[in-house]
Subunit: 342 residues, 4 copies
């Protein structure tokens, strides 16, 4: 399964994502020159067959022109990386930001790099720790000549058709069915990736809420300790007498159900390892894309109640709503003399 | 301001609400016979001029026929109270449930009491600890003859026109502008009260969220400690440099603003007493009406996203979403290798 | 791929779901006796090899004891079907409700049938029109002996392991990895199916919202006709200049992305056939399970903001929120003199 | 009730809000110089006693130094107004933006005006068409000397203490209890006004949803026409047999209830005039502040599910979710063969 068109690619950033991309590229016959601020990460990739560099200058010098450089670093340090890198480059070189940049930064950057004759591609990269084997879904923004030039690289990184059935009646003409897509001009790749993550938040939340409701189906078995004016008793405890194994439920949904999905696969895997998930506290991070998706929805005037609810649910999970709760308790105390319950 | 039509009313349940109703009635010239399972509560009301009773039998014996009996006990013990009370009553007596019963129970009860010739009124009573002075807003369900018979009682308990301006162009014909209303047949009173509380949840939440956003307006002053792939840095810290006193804001909104309301009055009062509300933990109870309002919305096919969000916000405040959060963290760990942050 | 344990099953209801179940069973070597109120439906199945019946009596007579009878009719007519069927049955016969009954009805029915010695299984059946080929995911509730007796039937209807990878580290012991699961006592099957559909609503909504946001990414290209106090102009039109093909986006997400799922497959298929979906008006039905899922969440005190938002979104799509909108417009007119815009 | 400190104020923009502010100021003894692009608006104010101007130059010339100029124009044309106005001004003059500007624009403008020695105040002004009589709630941002200088103007425009009871235990020290408040530096006034409007959206929505649920309480009286797999029948029609007058309900809540508020007053007024609100279509505008409030909540990491739901509800009311609905219908067609219902 070696590529027909071996290319050379420079990779800056050898964290989990960057290193796995290099591995997947080399496996398929591409040549990789690598750089990371951590020399140990470089050494490790050298051991796997990549060319290492001890400085950005050495890194750039090791690349044939026109150069193809993929940056895979946290969104917060892309700009400082570019500041150091750009002076070393020549016209017609291409920079690829494969991280999770805000798409508006891509628009700004590509505009700034254009007078220098540099191409800038924004590539949303989905697949996480599984991408090395499964391939990464790539959402690409930027100018067409650069996208075409890099096609062998994208083809290798993406999953390809694989065992997923073709969509009936789909017209040929794009690479979408290979798992990578040129979505539009600068920013379009990260825009689509941003929304992808927004959808991911919503799908995850739907699954998690549902499994929680199934886990709670035995609430009628608990004694209703509190029969006071502050709490309403469960009206039909006889309807909540179940003890359903949520891990088995996630597993059964993997085949034939409407909700079958990679996320349900992963839920089944997580629950197989740890039926009560006791190693997790339930505090859920959010890394920006969900927030930006909601802001885009608002700018566009598109109602997005589901994705937004999933974002705020994560905020709540991190106790960011405590002051709101304090005001609510204070109001209940003011009008009803209700003391807050512990 | 004594009533023109002094009546006799029996009150069962001398908690905060029941006791204050008795006080308000006696002030206006009505005669009250009282009963509570706690003899001290009865003694206290006797000291204020009410007739006390040491048993339900004595209580019933102390009432002139046709009797008017107001029950003011937690929703969970209305039925057991009725079980003891009803055998002691005679045809044409009226029972009033002034608590927070589920309106469907009213339908059941009034149907069960009808063959005995008993009237049953469901009276949603809003006003909390302020009702003694401010008057209680009464939402009444049940048959018209009983409602009319009790009119002097309702008129006294309700606020009356007071200093609230009349609604321009409003046709006369109901007592709504006196602060009490016969809403319809059995259950209608508690149905309207239930929805009232649903609205209350939503209004409270809107105020509390808004004040939290104002309190958070200084977030740009904090150093952004975390610049990693798990957290997105604030893009415009310069726009969040405020230190705004939320108590002053609540106070200024009390006059002339569109959000001016009793709840804003109470928020200002709470924040005047305790600017940081440090005595509250932010765990917000819900007492049934919000849940039932959402269920009614769903049964009717009426979208109620705002009231529902305010209900779930209370659930979240009591950490009822923890298992959902655990699944979300587990999924993030599965696909991205993300460790949950502390 | 013929079954090792051919059984006889009676099927009542030969709509799309019932007929396809019969086909899938017969293909695998089981014997089916069929009945439908529509004689043409029966004839059609006879042509495909099933035994037909012209009456319930004939249907029952055609089954060996202990009989196994699968009812596949709309939830609203299960009870009337049972009324006619049950008197014809004998102790130890099993009735399977494979439709979308409310799980509490299952509890009621199984209790009612128990004194007659009848088994009652509730089987949530997911898979839609694709189930014939793909297999149906089965969520089963009821007593264990009946579930075990029907195992060969369930095994045939379900997808089996198929090409879906096994979950690493999963303990054996249930049939979940075959696509069918005994979830618990009566009602447990439909409870899990109910929640499955709630999750389905949420996942669908997340995908649909996301694709709408991508479709709206060109809003900055439109002239902002309205610069008045009623509308806010888009602050950054330069960030919304894209024309992204949503069908291509759905397609690319099918491989390697975190959101890859059967629903994304179907979205890609629908958009391949009809890029603008102009044959749809956007009015989305809901068939009960979403509503019940939300009610279960509320009963259990589990926050379910995402699933609930997806339910209310469907209500909104059918214009069920119009009176709410009228009140909002009326309020805006009252306080601001704002005329409603067309 | 004339002011003790008559001042001169220049007003640019004589729409409903600007004209009423001038009227309220003149009534209290202040002197107003006015300008509007529409000469008829200027003439009308002259007839009421204001000084009119036929050009910005004449307007500025008519003001004593240091000048105090209030701009009351749509947010979209504040900047072009400033461009023309600023060159005509002198150091120590004060510009007040009383409209609904985005607070970040205030930060930008005050920074730009500072080198010229100009003061810039942002004043969120709430009260709508009722402000002339009721007074306007003022939320003020900007530098303290200018705020203090304008105090007599603010005092006149604001409602004053009026008949609203003082908040018990409130420390003196701010003007909040007079209905105006210096909230902080530039932008703070419009920030607080922005959130005020976000709260307004949420409170309006809670009231509107609740009244819709009450209006829908008779749904059990309708025949359930559709008993098919696409629709679930109402399980308890006997619980929805009411015909409740929503106008009476709004009226009764005005006195003594927890939800008593100006918005409930206005709902009662609207329903008194038009019980079915048939002159409204239910399409609800949003003018920017709600959107910005949600974006602030997201930037701050404060969960705001209620305010956000009220924003999206307005989007839905204007049919902005149609493409989302089309995708949902298309998916239902794909997996279930469900035809969209009309």
């Amino acid at each position: 399964m070696a590529t027909d068109n071996p290319m050379q690619l420079g990779m800056i950033g050898l964290g989990r994502m960057g290193a796995n991309l290099v591995r997947r590229l080399m496996r398929d016959g591409h040549h990789c020159v690598t750089y990371d601020v951590n020399p140990d990460a470089v050494k490790a990739m050298e051991a796997e067959g990549a060319v290492g560099s001890s400085s950005l200058a050495e890194f750039v010098a090791g690349l044939e022109k026109p150069r193809n450089i993929w940056i895979m670093v946290p969104a917060g340090i892309v700009d400082s990386t570019l500041e150091q890198l750009v002076p070393l480059l020549d016209a017609d070189d291409t920079i690829i930001d494969g991280g999770n940049s805000y798409y508006r930064d891509d628009i700004t950057r590509s505009k700034a790099l254009k007078p220098k004759g540099l191409h800038y591609l924004d590539v949303g990269t989905s697949g996480g720790v599984w991408g090395l084997e499964r391939g990464y879904c790539l959402m690409i923004g930027g100018d067409t000549p650069a996208v075409l030039r890099l096609d062998p690289i994208f083809k290798t990184i993406a999953p390809g058709e694989g065992s997923v059935e073709l969509t009936a009646g789909r017209a040929p003409g794009t690479t979408a069915s290979q798992g990578y897509l040129h979505c539009g001009p600068s920013g379009a790749g990260h825009f689509v990736k941003m929304v992808h993550n927004g959808i991911e938040y919503g799908m995850m939340a739907a699954i998690a809420e549902g499994l929680s409701i199934i886990k709670g189906a035995g609430i009628g078995l608990q004694e209703n300790a509190t029969h006071d004016a502050e709490n309403t008793p469960l009206r039909h405890p006889e309807a909540y007498q179940y003890d359903i194994n949520v891990g088995d439920v996630a597993e059964v949904w993997r085949r034939g159900s409407v909700v079958s999905s990679w996320l349900v696969d992963l839920a089944a895997a997580a629950l197989a390892k740890s039926p009560d998930l006791q190693e997790f506290g339930g505090r859920v991070s959010d890394s920006g894309e969900g927030r930006w998706t909601v802001e885009a929805a608002i700018d566009e005037g598109v109602p997005a109640p589901v994705i937004t609810a999933s974002l705020f649910q994560r905020f709540e999970s991190r106790d960011l709503g405590v002051f709101t709760g304090k005001i609510l308790s204070a109001l209940r105390s003011e009008f009803g003399g209700h003391a807050e319950q512990k």
